[in-house]
Amino acid sequence: MNSSHKLIAFQTIVVKEVRRFTRIWVQTLVPPAITIGLYFVIFGNLVGSRIGDMGGYDYMDFIVPGLIMMAVIQNSYSNVVSSFFSQKFQRSVEELLVAPVPNYVILLGFVAGGMSRGLAVGAIVTAMALFFADLRIEHPLITVSVILMTSLVFSMAGFINAIFANSFDDISIIPTFVLTPLIYLGGVFYSVQLLPDFWQFVSGLNPIFYMINAFRYGILGTSDIGVSWAFIILSIFVVILYSACIWMLRRSTGLRH
């Protein structure tokens, strides 16, 4: 298989993935938009107006980057985990496994599909945010790089979850019990400067905290941490997760008997 064949195989996987989440847009694109819209209305408008400033910004402006990031993380992850697990469950993944597609092309295809959905939902949420907040992007390059790398990391994490999952319960455990608490405690709704020292230290152990803060820095120009930390952590996660995914595909974990 030469590189043009590999590119066609990659495009095929991506097109299939995008076709899947756009075909069921009522399940994939609308619910996150509604949920985040409710956050804007309730936390931003109703509660936020009583909170006043946060980190030197209007509360609504402060939470917008975190909410966009939350949508991107959740949707990048859930697209890959649900799509790949469904293909395992229906055994349609065998179509791919019998074909001469290298493991890294399979991985990148699914990851690109996950990123497409994550970024599509992120774009919808950003468009909605324009109705509630005065959104200006202070550092476009940082904003774009952080969101792309975060989406990449969580798409790969979703892939690993799908590889290990044996039932539909297994694909909801990590998002419910791990991802959601980490996102909520990652400083979406508050600045860690408000927390006691101990809880500030605990927040520092949460990788999502760095991602949200770096993204907030890209949009607002303010952050609780040094942005370079976020890039270092994101880069480490990219390398570790990519290597883990490729290793599992090579070992055929959960895919071949």
């Binding site: 195989a9 229906q90 071949r256």
Partner: protein
């Protein structure tokens, strides 16, 4: 002649300790129409799984057109088309998209993929269904869709794992014609089936696998020649009152009912002599059929012998 597939001492023991393959060896020549038969759980699907890389082997080797499937993964996959036993495409996708997607996995450019998709969907009578969701297809259509999908990259070796299971006889015969046509163009075909008449009709060579071991591997002709005894049912339009005396060795004649006779012939006796005696006795025979499928008789005999 080039060998399409060479299996040497292939072994598979699953994680639960079940030994599915106990060192089988097999050769299928290029252009052959080969039957791999065996009862349920004999190891047929495991063998196909290992060839297609969906199952990891425990030992031995598999070569496809002279290339090891483990060391030349991509080249051997290009040569292989697999039609699995169970439906394994997305039930939510459109028929045309399923075939187009498979073409994409093999790196076919879009124009060629569209052309091949149309070609095989038309040949298999699914072109009109190309925009339908696959879940709306009947069982027979789903099987045909899997064949179209397996052929879209035009492999040199097509492996079909019970492709006509649950398919009605009319459709089955049209699939036989299609497979014969594909084989005539040079595609090597390996077929597993529970319909032994299908294997007898289509295949030139045969292997019988039982409990993870090959118990027979020969040509269909040689195998059928082993069958020393055949039983025919003769139907007559007239009323059969009594049976004539045959005075023939290795032939027995019984009355089934007022219009049918059963004749068992062995030791190379000709059925013509029986017809002559019946004709003399005024019994006109309108039709003749085998009481049971010849391969089926042999298959059961082999399995029984093996288990004894």
């Amino acid at each position: 002649m080039t060998t399409a597939i060479a299996i040497k001492d292939l072994r598979k023991t699953y994680a639960n300790g079940f030994e599915a393959l106990k060192g089988i060896s097999l050769r299928v020549e290029q252009g052959d129409f080969f039957a791999l038969l065996g009862p349920n759980g004999a190891g047929k699907s495991t063998t196909i799984g290992i060839i297609s890389t969906l199952v990891n082997k425990t030992g031995g080797s598999v070569e496809v057109f002279g290339r090891n499937v483990q060391t030349h993964v991509f080249e051997t996959k290009l040569d292989l088309g697999i039609v699995p036993q169970e439906v394994n495409f997305s039930q939510f996708e459109k028929v045309g998209d399923i075939v187009m997607t498979q073409a994409g996995y093999y790196g076919l450019p879009r124009a060629l993929a569209s052309e091949r998709t149309e070609k095989y969907l038309r040949k298999l009578g699914l072109w009109e269904k190309r925009n339908d969701r696959s879940r709306s297809l009947s069982g027979g259509m789903k099987r045909r869709l899997m064949i179209a999908r397996a052929l879209v990259h035009e492999p040199r070796l097509l492996i079909l794992d019970e492709p006509t299971a649950g398919v009605d006889i009319e459709l089955r015969r049209s699939m036989w014609d299609f497979l014969t046509e594909i084989n005539a163009t040079g595609t090597t075909i390996i077929l597993t089936t529970h319909y032994l008449e299908e294997a007898e009709q289509l295949c030139r060579n045969i292997a019988i696998i039982d409990e993870g071991e090959i118990i027979e591997n020969t040509s269909m002709k040689k195998l059928l020649a082993e069958l020393d005894q055949q039983t025919f049912i003769l139907d007559s339009n007239g009323h059969i009152d009594s049976l004539p005396e045959l005075h023939m060795e290795n032939v027995s004649l019984h009355k089934v009912d007022e219009h049918s006779l059963e004749v068992t012939i062995s030791g190379g006796q000709s059925v013509n002599q029986v017809f002559a005696v019946l004709d003399k006795a005024g019994i006109q025979i309108n039709s003749l059929r085998n009481k049971s499928n010849r391969l089926e008789q042999l298959f059961l005999a082999k399995l029984t012998r093996d288990s004894n």
